[in-house]
């Protein structure tokens, strides 16, 4: 069976405790860097001003503000939970601001029920991809997500290899 081979219990424990801190830091660092790339890519898709008239004066907290929309795109804390097969590791890149969500989701349910709604959606589509869920975070995830996942796996694989080496060294 591939993976960690355990021969001596005490030596194993010592090696794992010894290995854990720095390996764990290295793994976290790789994860952070990979996810940050996705976040930055998503923020890059936020336009300066999708249309005139969509401002805080007329829309309140839903009015367009590029900085608010960009800052609303952030990484959520990773979650770990155990499922039937073992262990589920997740990181979310979320679009949490009101204008950001409006920009991302406009047109997802209909073409616009009123003439104003249709015009609004058409204006947004001029600045981003046609149709929904591919404008900001989802688009960034598709472009960079797989690479991020592979980086995380590579970091974990590296941690495994280093652990194996240290265990082999302890075993002698």
């Amino acid at each position: 069976m591939a993976g960690v081979k355990v021969t001596g219990v005490r030596q194993t424990l010592r090696a794992l405790k010894q290995a854990q801190p720095d390996l764990e830091k290295q793994v976290r660092k790789s994860i952070n860097e990979s996810v940050r790339e996705v976040v930055l890519t998503a923020r890059g898709f936020i336009p300066d001003q999708p249309m005139t008239g969509w401002t805080a004066d007329s829309w309140g907290h839903r009015g367009w503000d590029q900085r608010t929309a960009k800052m609303g795109i952030k990484r959520q804390n990773p979650s770990r939970r155990v499922n039937g097969r073992g262990y589920f590791y997740a990181i979310d890149v979320a679009n949490l601001s009101a204008p950001g969500m409006i920009y991302e989701l406009a047109g997802s349910k209909s073409d616009g029920r009123t003439r104003q709604g249709q015009q609004f959606i058409a204006n947004i589509e001029r600045t981003g991809l046609r149709r929904p869920l591919r404008r900001v975070v989802v688009r960034a995830g598709i472009e960079k997500g797989e690479k991020a996942k592979e980086s995380i796996l590579a970091a974990l694989a590296k941690a495994q290899a280093v652990t194996q080496q240290r265990l082999d060294a302890v075993r002698g």
Partner: protein, 539 residues
């Protein structure tokens, strides 16, 4: 809104880790604190994300097996519906669609199957799937959700379709048939897939699909290499994957070694020596002197050696499509057998149809001949001269007996035209009538004979003798002639008894001679048109 703000729009980066390796490692650790175990799980779970190559190879095998299973299921669905011969065409269509649009076949195959099961038409399902992909891309819905809504709409239920956000009202959907709805959707969303082909996201999807296809091909090669199909019943997936992982490690080492060797040849050795080694390789391996090409071509030769023998067998019975050269041996065999069964079934159906057509033609010919024969008989009957003459004779004024005779002759002449049963019954009737009349004549004659008997031998026999003498005297030696009724009565009265003068030519020896003479006289009388009844009464 607060909940939406909390949820937001998310893209999730996630990984599943199989912890079987972790559990095996835990068994070797006797005393381990809970926190330490958690940390161990966090690190040693990485052990199951082995090397990239092993993971790639394992996924390749899984992809190949899943691909074969999916197409086999689709093939069975088509075969059940009688479209087994179209399996290759549909495979090519799905391959082309996934490479062109970036939607993987593990989505396309279930979607196509859903549409085909409802529409029961290969071309209609293909066309509808294309429209469904446009609608899914335009509305952001899952392709499976869209095709399910289409299938239900085709069956008459448009509720799911109305929820897709396609911009057509419920009333319009309910009042339109499925073809009309499809036409409108095609007009509205057609070309959406084509319009986004150049976007980064779709390009990535398409590349991902191509990588997936490559994985399947590699996986198929691995499956063949380990003869998994032959040992599938006894070999577990874990064992197969273990074998593959070991192979992957070996392959990785080989490539690593080759790479290192090449680097050394290129960078660390003097040019002359590296050239000598390279020349040496070329001398040893001939045209395969390039080591990397040699390895690749060697592997390719092994693959073709297996596939060529299979392909040759296929060429004999099946003019397979473009996927023929990329199929595994098991799949090829299955398709060959399916094709043979299909061809045999088609031949049987053609033979049965031809036989049925022949029988129908023979039946029609028979009916036509019978109709012609009946018509011919009818015309012949109308132009029969004998019948015409008999009919004309019957129209003249004749006695009853003659009429009966004419009718009997007519019935005999018509025997050829009427049915046998009708002819027999008619003739029987006439014969009965004639017989009855003949019997009545005979009875009358016998009555007269009896009367004569009573005259000659009865109590008045003496009177008769005297009358006979008197008649002979009166008439001299002239032969006796039959008296008229008036003469008979007159003579009778004169003699005071029955006096019947009868002239008989020839001798009368026996009573039957007399009877015959009387009958002849009666027939002669009636031939002249006289009434027998009157004569009978007289007698």
């Amino acid at each position: 809104m607060q909940s939406v703000a909390r949820e937001g729009v998310r893209y999730r980066i996630s990984s599943d880790f199989d912890n079987r390796g972790v559990k095996a490692a835990e068994k070797g650790i006797v005393a381990l604190g809970k926190s330490a175990l958690k940390a161990t799980v966090g690190i040693t779970s990485a052990s199951v994300a082995v090397s990239k190559l092993n993971q790639f190879l394992r996924e390749s095998v899984q992809a190949a097996l899943a691909d074969e299973k999916a197409y086999r299921t689709l093939g069975q669905t088509l075969q059940t519906a009688g479209f087994g011969a179209a399996a290759d065409q549909i495979k090519d269509f799905i391959d082309a669609q996934q490479l062109a649009t970036g939607v993987a076949e593990d989505q396309l195959i279930p979607a196509y199957t859903t549409l085909f099961n409802t529409l029961q038409s290969v071309s209609a399902a293909q066309k509808t799937l294309t429209i469904a992909q446009d609608v899914a891309l335009a509305t952001g819905k899952d392709l499976n959700q869209v095709t399910t809504a289409f299938a239900r709409a085709a069956a008459g239920n448009t509720t799911a379709l109305s929820r897709l956000g396609i911009g057509i009202t419920k009333a319009e959907l309910a009042s339109s048939d499925f073809i009309t709805i499809l036409t409108r959707l095609e007009a509205k969303f057609g070309g959406t897939t084509g319009a986004v082909l150049d976007t980064t996201a779709v390009r990535m999807d398409r590349l991902r699909v191509a990588v997936g296809e490559a994985k399947e091909e590699i996986g198929k090669g691995l499956v063949d290499a380990f003869s998994l199909a032959a040992n599938a019943s006894t070999t577990s997936v874990d064992t197969m994957q273990g074998n593959i992982i070991r192979l992957g490690t070996t392959i990785g080492d080989v490539f690593r070694g080759l790479g290192g060797l090449t680097a050394k040849l290129k960078t660390e050795m003097p040019d002359a020596i590296s050239k000598a080694i390279s020349d040496g390789f070329k001398a040893s391996f001939g045209p395969y002197g390039d080591v990397f090409n040699f390895v690749r071509q060697y592997g390719e030769a092994l693959r073709l050696e297996t596939e060529n023998s299979v392909r040759q067998g296929m060429a004999n019975v099946y003019t397979g499509g473009p996927r023929a050269d990329r199929m595994s041996a098991g799949t090829v065999g299955l398709i060959v057998v399916q094709r043979q069964i299909y061809l045999a079934e088609q031949a049987r159906k053609r033979a049965a149809a031809a036989e049925a057509a022949r029988q129908r033609a023979a039946e029609a010919q028979k009916k036509k001949a019978a109709a012609l024969e009946a018509k011919t008989k009818e015309l012949a009957q109308q132009f029969d001269l004998e019948l015409i003459g008999l009919a004309a004779a019957k129209k003249r004024k004749v006695d009853e007996d003659t009429m009966l005779r004419l009718t009997a002759l007519q019935a005999l002449a018509q025997q050829g035209y009427n049915s046998e049963a009708n002819s027999i019954s008619e003739l029987d009737e006439l014969l009965a009538k004639l017989t009855a009349r003949q019997q009545s004549y005979t009875a009358a004659v016998l009555q007269s004979a009896a009367a004569w008997q009573s005259i000659t031998n009865g109590p008045n026999a003496g009177s008769f003798r005297l009358a006979e003498q008197g008649a002979n005297q009166g008439l001299g030696a002239a032969p006796m002639t039959a008296p008229t009724a008036a003469q008979f009565r007159q003579a009778e009265a004169a003699m005071g008894g029955i006096n019947i003068p009868i002239t008989i030519q020839g001798s009368v020896v026996a009573q039957q001679d007399l009877t015959q003479a009387v009958l002849d006289a009666v027939n002669t009388a009636t031939r002249g048109g006289g009434s027998l009844r009157g004569l009978q009464q007289t007698l």
